[in-house]
């Protein structure tokens, strides 16, 4: 693709954000505009995704500048699948927010912030070079800082700094490592870097000193954003303070972008040669610890939103598991798992929001009997929860099946941890289901001050959002094959990047000349 059409996926939300700022006092116009923006992007992305079913790579060189010099946007199986999943999540949460978001928050730039978040996420998924990945991260994070404290309640303010400080440190480490990579190779284009690294390893020239160090620094930066094992503490503390649609959106998008960055850059560049021997064991240990410690948190907690938040951590472990295998099927499994997790987890958060609306609390000791009160919610929550656990016809099963089967040969202990985590996930989800929906409520009188009146009247948007996401989750499970096929193409492209490199950077101008930037 020689034209610049891919940039629409960044331009549309950016333009919408600006337009929303102008229309800040007109709620309806903002909502219609936001829906139109998300919907049109989803249509575009799905169209392009169907175009690359067979493993093609769509590339836009901005302004016609060829790859190592200009800005490149790449739409391949990996980025395409995640883009579509991300937009589905955003659409579901956005519709949901119409009936639960506080009008005051809407005036406080809720709509523009959502669109800016999408700008950042889309740019991260699409970009073809390391520095624009950083910029995409920053746009996304700036929007997420704003959304995290939207409303400005005491609890939000007291917790926001953890997320902010950790992400600032991670971003700084990221930008330092990007600088080091430029110093080593004289380019930041991912395809160009992959070509150089591959060439050096093949010719026996060896990688520059400090390459392993840069790999580990980048792993730290992405791991902090993706909530990998030692760096996940910020997540449970922040997700339960912000408004529900925002928490759902964060759980679907933010950590996944960190995982995506690892999936994009590590098999291609930073886990090649001797770096592989350092990075893979780190990923393996991190995967096991993330899965298991996350789910232990979920079993011990008693508060629905916190349970869901630590489940985000635990599920990230499965994705890291797939990444650490560095095989075609392992990466494909990780990608499929990411797609299904984004949708399922967001729908669970949205269900939790409606539970709070009904019961006035998300403490399992205080709520109960919701199944009688709201059948639809009970069924939707059950389907989503069982997808998360991974019961057979539902989506989580296929992701786990691929990962466990693929990991069994080399890392059977990790597969055992994964299965054990699955069992504990079932325990914690059944705890929520039984106490929240099945058993009669503990306190017989309805909680005073609960939004019973307001809650029953205008929850249509909330139900549409939940229904949409649960339907997509069912589709991802029942029609697993076409989606897994695309994921498998992505896995192939990651393990054998020649197609990606050819599509992005056919000439390899810098690589051919062998020029490096400066060197100290």
């Amino acid at each position: 693709m020689t034209d610049n059409l891919l940039s629409l996926l960044v331009v549309i939300p950016l333009a919408t954000a600006v337009a929303s700022l102008v229309l800040i006092r007109r709620r309806l116009a903002q909502r219609v505009l936001g829906l139109a923006s998300l919907g049109s992007m989803l249509v575009l992305a799905l169209g392009w995704l169907s175009e690359i079913r067979d493993g093609d790579v769509l590339v836009s060189q901005m302004g016609g500048w060829p790859a190592p010099y200009g800005i490149t946007l790449v739409f391949d199986s990996l980025s395409g699948l995640l883009l579509c999943a991300g937009l589905v999540v955003a659409l579901g949460c956005y519709v949901h927010s119409f009936s639960v978001i506080d009008p005051g928050m809407e005036r406080r730039y809720f709509h523009p912030l959502i669109q800016l978040l999408i700008v950042g996420v889309n740019q991260c998924f699409l970009t073809g070079d390391l520095f624009n990945l950083f910029v995409g991260f920053e746009i996304m994070l700036m929007a997420s800082y704003g959304l995290l404290v939207i409303g400005g309640s005491r609890r939000q303010m007291g917790q926001a700094y953890k997320y902010l400080v950790l992400n600032l440190i991670a971003s700084t480490v990221f930008v330092i490592s990007a600088g080091l990579v430029y110093g080593m190779f004289g380019t930041l284009n991912l395809a160009d870097l992959a070509r150089i690294v591959e060439g050096r390893v093949a010719s026996g020239e060896g990688l520059p000193t400090g390459f392993v160090g840069v790999s580990v620094l980048l792993l730290f930066a992405f791991g902090a954003k993706g909530a990998f094992f030692p760096l996940w503490f910020w997540l449970p503390d922040t997700y339960h303070t912000c408004p529900v649609p925002v928490a759902a959106l964060f759980s679907g998008l933010l950590t996944k972008v960190g995982v995506y960055a690892v999936a994009r850059t590590f098999p291609l560049i930073f886990a090649v040669g001797e770096a592989r021997d350092v990075v893979v064991p780190l990923l393996l240990v991190s995967a096991a610890a993330t899965m298991f410690l996350g789910v232990l948190g979920a079993v011990s907690l008693n508060n629905v939103r916190r349970i869901l938040a630590v489940h985000v951590v635990s599920q990230v472990g499965y994705m890291v598991f797939g990444l650490s295998l560095m095989t075609t099927a392992g990466l494909a499994g990780a990608l499929y798992y990411m797609v299904q997790h984004m949708i399922v987890k967001s729908s669970l958060f949205l269900c939790c929001g409606v539970m709070e609306q009904h019961a006035g609390s998300d403490d399992l000791g205080r709520i109960g009997g919701l199944q009688k009160r709201d059948r639809f919610l009970g069924v939707a929550f059950f389907v989503a929860a069982m997808s998360l656990v991974g019961l057979p016809p539902l989506s989580g099963f296929f992701g786990k099946l691929v990962l466990v089967r693929e990991g069994w040969a080399d890392y059977w202990w990790l597969s055992v941890v994964a299965l054990l985590t699955g069992a504990l996930t079932l325990v914690s989800m059944l705890k929520v289901w039984t106490k929240g929906f099945w058993l009669p409520p503990v306190a017989s009188e309805p909680t005073p001050g609960s939004d019973g009146g307001a809650g029953s009247g205008d929850l249509r948007g909330a139900y549409v959002g939940i229904g949409f996401l649960v339907a997509v989750a069912l589709f991802v499970g029942l029609a697993a094959e076409p989606i897994y096929d695309i994921a498998f193409h992505a896995g192939e492209q990651l393990t054998d990047p020649s197609a990606y490199i050819e599509a992005v950077d056919p000439h390899g101008l810098i690589a051919a000349g062998g020029v490096t930037g400066g060197g100290g």
């Binding site: 700094y161 600088g179 403490d363």
Partner: protein, 132 residues
């Protein structure tokens, strides 16, 4: 020249880590900002020493022939500075609002602000006062 830059980066990063280990959010914020500056200096070092082995200086990347300064790290830093600046503004605003809402900027006291299991979950109040 590269050695001088390396020493500067080392000093800045050390000071910033010391600041970040503090229990006061103000110091932590200053540490984070300083770390950003350290990162920028580290990147400028990547464009190589401005002094050529013969003693001449590299030329500006617009005019001149022969040994030009690599302009790309400077472009990267420019972007990073803008982003840092925006984040700094946000962080300082957050500090002011946090102090106003919770009455403290001490990390330990903020941790006490958030009792894990109970407390009202749907907080619809507290919007009107934001920023004013």
């Amino acid at each position: 020249m590269t050695t001088v830059l390396a020493v500067c980066v080392a000093v800045i990063v050390t000071v910033s880590i010391y600041l970040m280990l503090s229990r006061e959010l103000k110091s932590i914020a200053m540490g984070v900002f300083l770390l950003g500056h350290g990162a920028n200096l580290a990147i400028i070092a990547m464009s190589g020493s401005p002094v050529l082995p013969g003693g001449d200086l590299r030329q500006p990347p617009i005019l001149g022939d022969g040994h030009l300064v690599d302009a790309l790290p400077q472009a990267l830093i420019l972007t990073a500075i803008v982003i840092n600046f925006a984040v700094m503004g946000f962080f300082l605003t957050l500090l002011v609002l946090t102090a106003r809402r919770t009455g403290t900027l001490n990390v330990d006291e903020l941790a006490l602000e958030d009792p894990p299991a109970d407390g009202p979950v749907l907080e619809n109040g507290g919007i009107g006062g934001m920023g004013r």
